[in-house]
């Protein structure tokens, strides 16, 4: 067989998952100049961009502009998109092994970490990711039901997702109507009775995961005031010392903003968002119908680990917070792929700098790689996945140079397309997406919105005039 990576015999790569990391991986593969590469990207949903479309909040359109970079990659002649094709359901890893020299899993982290406390699965207790996917019009979450008739809701966690959920619950219908939030979610939120939203953090203001712009934005909502209890806004001596020691300006600024929210009690006319610190839910309390009516909170204090981190520790003092709706947002977690080694305890594919590792031999699995959240866990901003993808592509190039790759029976681009067409005739191409995108944007334009999303696969097929 001739050398791989030439024009006549390009390196054929399958990328599984069309989120930011999938596109960054493709971009890095095209950017290197050593070898010719062709990329086929497989995606479970008909549409590309993963969490940029279905995770990033609808009132954060600017963040979504990163899709322009991805679009540039997708328009290259060496790139193809196969949407609506699920690994394990429609195609298998063995199918990919027959057609590609290398496979990269970039499936992200699709589910929530669990709290493991009593009553977590009561009615009206939801994972934040479900709510996020629902208001973003994710086809799998179209039929979720959230009881917005209650007046008080709590969001457990102080990360970016928790902040998004708090904002969406607190915004006015007018604010939301300017976004590309799913129509059904806009209608449901229009009828919402929620007056008070609690965001609950285990540690103090100096350790909160949300960023300074995010916390500042909370103070700029039209119909809702932000409030922090003065006692909880004040730094404990350990945090004070750590902050002074690190001279970290971003955290100092964040703490200042949080403390400014403690200065002015919220107006009784407004909705309110109350950020609580140093509290951990220890139980969900339900009524006879099995619905959440309150959370039991344990008050925490901070202690310093040997390595210098300030961690929460229970004080023994508890309180009851009456809330009728709870969203758990303590972090995303990866889901195992059929036929791919998984590290259950951390929710990632077992890997070493992106090379998938066989758990029995501790050796790399030939030709299989991973990048992004399914490789290292859910952390960082969208762009953090770019250096992560670069690391994986570097490992791929090293392996290719060392002759470590799959030897597919049918490495041609046509053979791969025929395989997909045989197994999933109604797959969506990138051209299909461009057409859907155009229609969505046009539908939005009439209403002064960025787009009006299609929210079911059937709708998308119909819009493309497929029978």
């Amino acid at each position: 067989m001739s050398e791989i990576g030439t024009e006549a015999n390009p390196l054929r790569v399958a990328i599984v998952g069309a989120g930011p990391t999938g596109f960054y991986t493709a971009e890095q593969l095209f950017k290197q100049k050593q070898v010719e590469v062709e990329v086929d990207m497989f995606e479970r949903l008909p549409t590309p961009y993963g969490l940029v479309r279905y995770g990033v909040a609808p009132d954060h359109q600017k963040i979504k502009s990163v899709t322009r970079i991805f679009d540039r990659t997708a328009r290259r002649p060496e790139f193809r998109f196969f949407g609506n094709v699920e690994l394990g359901q429609d195609i298998t890893v063995d199918d990919l092994r027959r057609h590609y020299h290398m496979i990269v899993y970039t499936t992200g982290a699709q589910t929530d970490r669990s709290l493991n406390i009593e009553g977590e699965n009561l009615k009206r207790s939801h994972s934040a990711t479900e709510f996020v996917a629902w208001y973003n019009g994710h086809p799998d979450f179209r039929d979720c039901d959230f009881d917005l008739s209650v007046t008080r809701a709590a969001v457990i966690g102080v990360g970016n997702v928790a902040v998004d959920v708090c904002r969406i619950l607190s915004r006015t219908p007018e604010e939301l109507a300017k976004t590309d939030i799913a129509d059904y979610a806009l209608e449901a939120l229009r009828e919402s009775n929620i007056r008070e939203v609690y965001m609950l953090g285990r540690r103090g203001p100096a350790q909160a995961a949300f960023t300074t712009p995010e916390i500042k934005e909370l103070g700029e909502m039209e119909g809702s005031d932000v409030w922090v209890l003065p006692d909880e806004a004040a730094l404990d001596p350990l945090s004070e010392e750590a902050l002074a020691d690190s001279a970290d300006r971003a955290t100092t600024r964040k703490v200042e903003i949080i403390q400014s929210y403690a200065e002015e009690p919220p107006s009784p006319k407004q909705k309110r968002l109350i950020i609580r610190f140093l509290v951990s839910p220890t139980a969900f309390i339900g009524n006879d119908d099995g619905e959440v009516v309150a959370l039991e909170l344990m008050k925490n204090e901070l202690y310093r680990t040997d390595a210098g981190t300030l961690r929460p520790r229970a004080t023994g003092e508890t309180e009851i917070l009456p809330v009728g709706l709870v969203f758990r947002s303590i972090g995303y977690r990866g889901v195992p792929l059929p036929g791919v080694p998984f590290k259950e305890s951390w929710g990632v594919i077992l890997n070493e700098t992106g090379r998938v590792i066989n758990p029995d031999s501790d050796e790399p699995v030939t030709g299989e790689y991973t990048a992004g959240w399914i490789k290292r866990g859910a952390t960082g901003v969208i762009g953090t996945n770019k250096p992560d993808a670069a690391e994986t592509v570097e490992a791929m190039m090293e392996d290719l140079a060392g002759g470590r790759h799959l030897d597919p029976e049918a490495p041609g681009a046509d053979a791969a397309r025929q395989m997909v067409a045989a197994k999933k005739p109604d797959y969506f191409s990138y051209d299909d997406w461009l057409r859907l995108d155009e229609i969505e944007v046009a539908r939005g334009e009439e209403l002064g919105r960025p787009r009006v999303k299609f929210v079911t696969v059937e709708e998308m097929a119909e819009a493309l005039e497929r029978s």
Binding site: K62, V66, A307, G380, T384, K386
Partner: protein, 144 residues
Amino acid sequence: MKIRRLLATKGREVITIGPEQAVRDAVALLAEHNIGALVVVDDGGTPVGIISERDIIRRAASSETLFDELISDLMTRDVITGVPQDDVYSVIHTMTEKRFRHLPIVDEGQLIGIISIGDVVKAQRDTYRGEIDTLETQIMADEA
């Protein structure tokens, strides 16, 4: 970011050595795995110390029998260990302040990995690169 995230891409293997083994064995392991330190564990797998290339070089300056000496005679005993929940930023700060370069990570008494100063520097660099890239993208979107 938590230390756990850094361990996620390091595979499973943690290279360890016993306190009764010889420096010769340590040198061989450091060279074979291209690393700078080994966690010293007792028979039960509990970390009892750490031995770094620096420990070995220091002893080499004054010892003619270095290679036959026991690990337990050279190792640092008061090892600072981390937990998977430690924040990367706190770890960077502690490593810089206390001037050590390897942090064994222990979870419920079990050694599950080791983090080097190189790992935390890389994590911090990638975090910054990612943030800059994201900000640039947004600024360019504003201009478009």
